[in-house]
């Protein structure tokens, strides 16, 4: 586990394409252990693309730039190895996988991590205890365990399930893509509790959001504005409040003037 302040993620001048279209245009971002970063920005600006590139989604093509994760070249690793090394993506739109059992996937995912770290497989009893505890935290009914992955889950239930997985897998770098979208007021608090439970010296959280309200519950160390495939401005929590008031145009204008 990294030490507090250690550089976990170092993205430099990243350019990426999808379906022949340039989406990320020189994105630079550094995230250190113990930090929480919020990324905000207009629709279509490339936030999910960034999350996808970091998690190893196949359809994105990195044209130039680099991503270093705990000192290693993240882009050289296939998706499953990134996950095993501690990168976790909570999807904006979690996919339904009927026929693959939810709790089974969770166990297989945990065992993949443990195997990578040279640990033995998790004991079945211990695992169930762990999952029950985390489900309580997420206020999820145990019936969700034996359903297909996200199968027939409501929008909010899918998001809760993503955070449940995250709390069980305890990633070093958690990427949350609009995990707060579609949550009711109570669910937002529950999910925030789940995310906050993971905050710690050796971890980092990068969360994409459109709403500054989330940041009342999960207070970020830094807020970034991503527009046109680049980080145009960074600041503290106050920046989110200002964005809420003024929108994004002024940031674009400021950047253009600079």
């Amino acid at each position: 586990m990294p030490q507090k302040g250690e550089l976990i993620l170092d993205v430099r001048d990243l350019h990426a394409k999808v379906a022949g279209k340039q989406i990320l245009n020189g994105l630079t971002l550094q995230v250190r252990a113990g930090e929480v970063h919020a990324i905000m920005g207009p629709n279509g600006s490339g936030k999910s693309t960034l999350a996808g590139v970091l998690a190893g989604r196949g359809e994105y093509e990195v044209v130039s730039g680099s991503v270093t994760y705990l000192g290693q070249d993240l882009l050289a690793l296939p998706a499953e190895e990134r996950a095993r090394a501690g990168v976790f993506l909570a999807f904006q739109y979690p996919v339904e996988i009927p026929g693959v059992n939810n709790v089974y996937l969770l166990k297989a995912a945990l065992n993949a991590l443990r195997k990578h770290r040279g640990q033995p497989e998790v004991d079945a009893f211990e695992f169930l205890g762990l999952v029950r505890e985390k489900m309580k935290l997420m206020q999820m009914d145990e019936s969700f365990l034996n359903r297909g992955v996200n199968e027939g889950f409501s929008g909010g239930e899918k998001k809760r399930n993503e955070v449940l997985q995250m709390t069980v897998l305890e990633p070093v770098l958690a990427l949350l893509d609009e995990t707060d979208s579609g949550l009711d007021i109570d669910a937002l608090k529950v999910v925030s509790t789940g995310v906050n439970s993971l905050r710690g010296e050796g971890r980092a959280i990068v969360m994409v959001t459109h709403y500054q309200r989330l940041l009342d519950y999960i207070v970020p160390d830094q807020v970034h504005v991503l527009a046109g495939g680049r980080i145009l401005k960074s600041g503290g929590k106050d920046l989110a409040l200002e964005l809420e008031r003024r929108g994004y145009d002024w940031v674009r204008q400021e950047a253009a003037a600079a």
């Binding site: 998706a79 990134r82 996950a83 897998l169």
Partner: protein, 437 residues
């Protein structure tokens, strides 16, 4: 006693029949039917790839096989174990012949089994109602089966019987030779029963040809699970004919998980008002195996209903085809018919052809059909990878999940587990996946 391999096929069949005729059992009534079937077959010949419904079959592989059947009854043959279903009553056929010696002696109340030939001699009315295979291409292998059948099996479920015990029909092929056989199942009025047919054995070069007839009486409910798990060298051709009387319910589940070439043809007639059928199936072809599935479901009466669901998975150089026709005939008002065929092609050289055909000859019906042929969903695959799952395992899990759609509906837990194991065995990367499912 085979004819020269280069002689035209019908000639080979005629000679084999002449050799065998004196030794075929069954009385004069059966003998007469056999002779009639043979002469019609000799006139018309077997179908070939020019016949619309036979164009996908791997003909060279079928024609390379010996068509002359095993001559002697081989009751001594070693019996493959077969699936253990608790409480089941087991009926065994060896190379198509009903074997009382290998079958359970005591049958559940309401169930009777006997040699078809013997029953025909005793009951002229049975001979009269037993279907005579037609001459069109779809039925010629059934003619071939009729021409050579000596014993065959007749399974009857008495009217009003409610049979709880699974009826396990174990079909065993013994060697590398051919067999041509008939099986008749009669489910009496208002009866209820569940049958599992399991196909085992058959060496490289073997050809088994089976014609099955099922009649489901008025108000009867029959579950008919069929499990093909022949070894990868065997060839099997079957022609099923199912007729449903008024208000009957018939559910067929067919798992085609074995054989070098497996052709399964089904004609199902919803003949009585209110008859309903569910026809479900799964084929998996890996290596160089082939599955060729052809189904025709005829809605002949009002308020009849069909739900047909087929799944296909092909990998390596496996080839599969699903050709499913549903015909809603004139007068079959308020018919309701749903057909779905979903197929997965896992590797570049594998091939699946899916051809749904819906013919509606009356108004006031509800029909839908859908066909997909594709590869694994990239979004689902990425989701699993993003959770650290190995790519081969992820692909296996998704393929398994695709098959589970049908497998999960198997009525007996033991049979379900058994089929799940077979399914895993047909997956690429089966060794990695086994521990996960």
């Amino acid at each position: 006693m085979s004819a020269r391999a280069d002689a035209p096929l019908v000639e080979r069949i005629a000679r084999a029949h002449a050799d065998l005729r004196p030794r075929l059992r069954g009385g004069p009534a059966w003998q007469a039917r056999r002779d009639a079937a043979l002469s019609r077959l000799l006139q018309r010949g077997l179908p070939d790839r020019r016949d619309e419904n036979w164009k996908y079959l791997d003909w060279p592989e079928v024609l390379a096989r010996e068509f002359a059947p095993v001559t002697a009854a081989t009751a001594e043959a070693p019996t493959p174990a077969g699936l253990e279903l608790p409480g089941a009553c087991r009926i065994v056929t060896v190379d198509g012949r009903y074997s009382p010696a290998l079958s359970d002696r005591s049958l559940p109340a309401g169930v009777s089994v006997e040699e078809l030939g013997a029953a025909l001699d005793r009951e002229p009315e049975l001979a009269a109602r037993l279907r005579v295979p037609g001459e069109d291409a779809d039925d010629r292998f059934a003619l071939l089966a009729e021409a050579f059948t000596d014993a065959g099996a007749l399974v009857r479920i008495a009217a009003n019987a409610d049979v709880q015990a699974p009826i396990h029909l174990l079909h065993i092929a013994t060697g590398a030779a051919a067999s041509h056989a008939r099986l008749v199942v009669e489910a009496g009025t208002n009866s209820r029963a569940r049958i599992l047919e399991q196909f085992l054995g058959g060496g490289d070069g073997a050809l088994s040809n089976l014609a099955v007839e099922v009649t489901v009486g008025a108000g009867a409910q029959l579950v008919h699970m069929r499990l093909h798990e022949q070894p990868a060298g065997a060839a099997h051709v079957e022609t099923l004919s199912v007729t449903q009387a008024a208000d009957s319910r018939y559910r067929q589940q067919s798992f085609i998980l074995g054989g070098r070439v497996l052709r399964s043809g089904l004609r199902l007639e919803l003949a009585g008002r209110g008859a309903e059928c569910e026809v479900e199936g799964l084929f998996m072809v890996e290596g160089i195996r082939q599955a060729d599935i052809y189904t025709v479901i005829d809605h002949l009466a009002p308020h009849t209903r069909t739900v047909e669901t087929f799944r296909g998975v092909a990998s390596d150089r496996g080839r599969g085809s699903f050709n499913g026709r549903i015909v809603v005939h004139e007068g079959a008002v308020k018919a309701d018919s749903q057909q779905s065929s979903r197929n997965l092609i896992l590797t570049p050289l594998a091939e699946i052809n899916a051809r749904p055909q819906l013919e509606i000859l009356t108004d006031d019906v509800k029909c839908s059909h859908g066909t997909t042929i594709g590869s694994l969903d990239p979004q689902q695959l990425f989701y699993l990878l993003s959770r650290g799952i190995d790519p081969a395992v992820a692909r296996g899990l998704l393929t398994f999940a695709f098959c589970e759609d049908v497998v999960a509906r198997i009525p007996w837990p033991e049979a379900r587990r058994h089929v799940e194991e077979l399914v895993v065995g047909r997956l690429p990367d089966r060794d990695i996946i086994r521990e996960f499912v």
